[in-house]
C-alpha cells in the first residue's frame, strides 16, 4: 500500500462506523453490513486519487455506500425464495422510510460499556452466539432446551442492550454509558 493509499485507508477508517450506519438503512439484511463496508472500502481505495481526503468525506461515502448497499442487497436477496424476497423488500422499505438519521456510529461507541453491564449469563450468551459462532439450534440441542427459548433469550439480551444504549445516549453518549 503506497502512502496515498494509506492516507485514504486512514481517512476511511475514521468513518467506517458511519458507513455501516448508512449501509444498515439501505440494506437491512442480516450480516450484509460488513460486506458493504468492505466493498465501499475497496471502491474508495481504487479511486483514491480522485478524493481530497482533507475534506469532509461523509457526503461522498454516503453516496457510495447507498449504491453499494442497494447493489449487494439485490444480489443477496435475489438468491432467496420469492416469499423471502417479498419480506426483505418490505423490511427495506420500512428501514428507508425511517426518518431518524442512522445512529449506528454513536451507538456502537457505547455498546462496549453496555455489554460490560450485562449479567454474566447474558454476556456468555452473546459470546457464545456472536463471538463463538454457535447457532441457536445447536445451543438448544446441546442443553436440551427448545430453540424458541434460546431465541427469546437472545431477543431479551438485545433489548436490554438497546435500553442501555438509549439511556446512555440520553445522558450524553459513550462517556456516560
Amino acid at each position: 500500500m503506497n502512502t496515498d493509499e494509506t492516507h485514504a485507508a486512514q481517512a476511511f477508517l475514521t468513518h467506517h462506523d458511519f458507513v455501516k450506519g448508512v449501509a444498515l438503512k439501505y440494506a437491512p439484511w442480516p450480516g450484509l453490513v460488513e460486506d458493504i463496508c468492505q466493498q465501499v472500502f475497496l471502491e474508495f481505495l481504487a479511486k483514491e486519487d480522485r478524493w481530497d481526503v482533507s475534506r469532509d468525506l461523509r457526503p461522498l461515502l454516503a453516496t457510495m455506500t447507498r449504491h453499494v448497499a442497494m447493489r449487494l442487497w439485490r444480489e443477496r436477496t435475489r438468491q432467496q425464495p420469492e416469499v423471502v424476497q417479498k419480506l426483505a423488500e418490505h423490511i427495506r422499505q420500512l428501514a428507508e422510510s425511517q426518518e431518524a438519521p442512522p445512529r449506528y456510529e454513536e451507538e456502537i461507541a457505547v455498546l462496549r460499556n453496555c455489554l460490560q453491564k450485562l449479567p454474566e449469563k447474558s454476556r456468555e450468551l452473546v459470546e457464545l452466539y456472536y463471538y463463538n459462532e454457535v447457532g441457536t439450534p445447536e445451543i438448544a440441542e446441546q442443553i436440551n432446551m427448545r430453540t424458541d427459548t434460546v431465541c427469546r433469550a437472545l431477543s431479551r439480551v438485545r433489548e436490554k442492550l438497546r435500553e442501555c444504549i438509549e439511556r446512555s445516549m440520553e445522558r450524553g453518549g459513550a462517556a456516560h454509558a
Partner: protein
C-alpha cells in the same frame, strides 16, 4: 407457528423457512410496531457482530470479509460446541441467574527465557531459542546459551555447564563458565556455587566453576562474594578472586569469558550453517518419489505463488498466495509467510485420493484466537476431506470427514500449543497410517500422540488451503478459521514417514 421474537431471530440467523417468512411478513404488515421492532433487532445484531473486534481489543477493520451466517455447517465443530456448552452450563435453566463461576486465567511457572542458543548440545532435554524456562537444572555438553531472567539479569553460559534456575532472580552454577550482566533493575541477582554465593549489586561479572577452581571476575560495578567458609568480601571493577580454597586475589580477565559480541558473531555463523544444512537436506527430501507437495518458502521475495519443490511433481501443485505477506523464517535468509488477516491463505490442489498420508509443517503460532485455527484444510467438508488444525485450547487435531453419510472423526493430540510455545518456530507433523491403523502426531520430531484409526478409507484432499479455510457450500459467509502466525515449510507425502524420518526433519 413460532412467536414474533423467534421469527425475528430466525430471520437474523438466515434460517427462516418460506412458511415462517410468510408469517413474519404478515405480522409486520399487520402491526407496524413489529416491523420497527425487527429493525431495532437487526441494528443491534449488526452492532453485536461488529463488537467482536471491540471486545477483543482489536481494531474493527473494514477490510474484514463478510460475517458468516450461523448455520449448522458453520458450527459443525462439535468440540467447540462442547466447550461452549460448559460455558453455558445452567444458563437457561437458571433463567439468567448470575453464576459464581469465575474465569480461570492461564498461568506460567517460567522465570526466565532462553533467548539465544548457539551450537548447543544438551545433556538435559533439548530446548530451542525462545523457550520459557521454569525452575530446574539445565545441563549443556557444549555451545553457548543466553538466558534472560524475568527480573532483568542476562547470563551467557558456555558449555559444558550445569546451571539451575531457582527463581526469576536467583540461580545455581555447579559447573561451567558464565558471564552475567545485571542492570540496576535486577540488583540483588544471586548466583550460588558449591563454594559460595555471588550477590550482584548492578554490574557485569564472570564466573568460572571448573574442577578444582571457583573464580569470580568483576568487569564493571561491584559484587558481594559470600564464601561458604569465609567472611563476605566486596569485589569492585577490575578485581577477581579465586575462592575454591583459600581466597586468592587475581586481576579480572574479561577475555576469558564469552561476551555479547561473541554470541552475536557466533549466532550469525550458527544461523548461516543451519540454513545451509537445511538447504542440503531439502534437496534430499525433494527427491522422494512419495513427496507430493513441498513448499520451502524460498520463492522470490514478493512472489504471489509458492513453487512445489517435490521433484517428481514438476510444476504441479504450486500454491497461490492470497493476502499473506512475506516475512523471515527460522533464520536470516529463510522466507516464510505471515498469516494474520481473515483473507490470508495459500490455495492449492491435491487431486485424487491417498491411502496413506504424512503432513509436516514448520510454524510460528502467535496466538489461538479462533475456535479452529487452520494449518492445512481441505475446502468445505465431507467425503474424506481432511482438516489439520489447532483448536483454541492448543490441541493439534487431524479431522477426517466420513464418507457416505458416516460421521467424521477427530484425531486429537493432547494440548501442545500453550502460550509458552507462542512466537517460536516449531516443527509439527501428522501421519495417517492405514497399515498400522493409527494416526500419529509429532512435535519437534517427537511422537506426542498415537491414536487408533476408526476408518482407513482413502483420503481425498482436493482443493485445500494453508493457514485458512474456505467453504464453497456457504453462500452467506464462511466461518473464520485463519491462522495467526507464520509458516516457513510445508510438505505432504502419500506414504507413512517413520519416526526416525520425522525426527530427521527437525535435526
Amino acid at each position: 407457528m413460532p412467536e414474533v421474537d423467534t421469527l425475528i431471530q430466525r430471520y437474523l440467523e438466515g434460517v427462516l423457512s418460506t412458511d415462517e417468512a410468510e408469517a413474519l411478513h404478515g405480522l409486520i404488515e399487520a402491526n407496524p410496531e413489529d416491523g420497527r421492532r425487527l429493525l431495532r433487532h437487526l441494528e443491534m445484531d449488526a452492532m453485536l457482530r461488529a463488537s467482536k473486534g471491540l471486545t477483543n481489543g482489536g481494531m474493527r477493520a473494514p477490510m474484514l470479509l463478510p460475517k458468516r451466517r450461523f448455520t449448522v455447517t458453520t458450527v459443525a465443530g462439535v468440540a467447540a460446541l462442547a466447550a461452549c456448552v460448559a460455558l453455558v452450563g445452567g444458563w437457561i435453566g437458571s433463567g439468567l441467574i448470575e453464576s459464581t463461576r469465575s474465569e480461570s486465567e492461564a498461568t506460567t511457572a517460567s522465570v526466565a527465557v532462553l533467548t539465544r542458543a548457539v551450537n548447543l548440545e544438551w545433556e538435559s532435554p533439548a530446548m530451542t531459542a525462545g523457550t520459557p524456562l521454569v525452575p530446574g537444572v539445565l545441563k549443556m555438553k557444549s555451545g553457548l546459551a543466553q538466558i534472560e531472567f524475568y527480573h532483568g539479569a542476562r547470563v551467557l553460559i558456555e558449555g559444558p555447564a550445569e546451571f539451575e534456575l531457582v527463581s526469576a532472580g536467583e540461580a545455581t552454577c555447579t559447573r561451567g563458565k558464565l558471564s552475567a550482566q545485571v542492570p540496576p533493575q535486577a540488583k540483588g541477582f544471586r548466583i550460588n556455587t558449591p563454594k559460595g554465593t555471588i550477590v550482584d549489586l548492578g554490574t557485569e561479572f564472570g564466573l568460572d566453576v571448573s574442577s578444582g577452581t571457583s573464580e569470580v571476575h568483576v568487569f564493571k560495578g561491584e559484587v558481594e562474594l559470600h564464601p561458604v567458609s569465609d567472611a563476605m568480601r566486596s569485589l569492585k571493577e577490575g578485581q577477581a578472586l579465586s575462592f575454591a580454597g583459600a581466597p586468592t586475589s587475581l586481576a579480572a580477565n574479561p577475555l576469558g569469558f564469552a561476551s555479547l559480541g561473541d554470541i552475536d558473531s557466533r549466532t550469525v555463523d550458527s544461523q548461516r550453517m543451519e540454513l545451509e544444512r537445511w538447504k542440503a537436506k531439502s534437496q534430499i527430501l525433494n527427491e522422494d518419489s512419495a513427496l507430493k507437495l513441498r513448499f520451502d518458502f524460498q520463492d522470490r521475495l514478493g512472489s504471489r505463488s509458492l513453487m512445489n519443490q517435490a521433484g517428481a511433481e514438476g510444476r504441479n501443485g504450486d500454491g497461490s498466495i492470497v493476502g499473506a505477506e512475506w516475512t523471515q523464517g527460522r533464520w536470516p535468509g529463510k522466507g516464510a509467510l505471515e498469516f494474520r488477516n481473515v483473507s490470508d491463505r495459500v490455495r492449492l490442489s491435491i487431486p485424487g485420493e491417498t491411502k496413506a498420508l504424512t503432513l509436516a509443517a514448520c510454524v510460528r503460532i502467535n496466538g489461538l484466537d479462533r475456535v479452529f485455527n487452520s494449518l492445512f484444510m481441505s475446502e468445505s467438508w465431507g467425503d474424506r476431506k481432511i482438516h489439520w488444525q489447532i483448536t483454541r485450547d492448543g490441541l493439534i487435531r487431524l479431522g477426517v470427514a466420513g464418507s457416505g453419510g458416516d460421521r467424521h472423526v477427530d484425531y486429537d493430540a493432547p494440548v501442545f500449543f500453550t502460550p509458552e510455545r507462542f512466537g517460536r518456530w516449531i516443527q509439527i507433523a501428522v501421519v495417517f497410517d492405514p497399515t498400522a491403523r493409527e494416526v500419529r502426531h509429532y512435535a519437534e520430531g517427537q511422537l506426542i500422540a498415537r491414536l487408533p484409526m476408526k476408518d482407513a478409507t482413502p483420503l481425498r484432499i482436493g482443493i485445500a488451503e494453508l493457514g485458512n479455510w474456505n467453504d464453497s457450500r456457504q453462500k452467506g459467509g464462511v466461518a473464520i478459521r485463519h491462522l495467526s502466525g507464520a509458516m516457513d515449510e510445508f510438505a505432504l507425502w502419500d506414504r507413512v514417514l517413520r519416526d526416525d524420518e520425522i525426527a530427521g526433519l527437525v535435526r
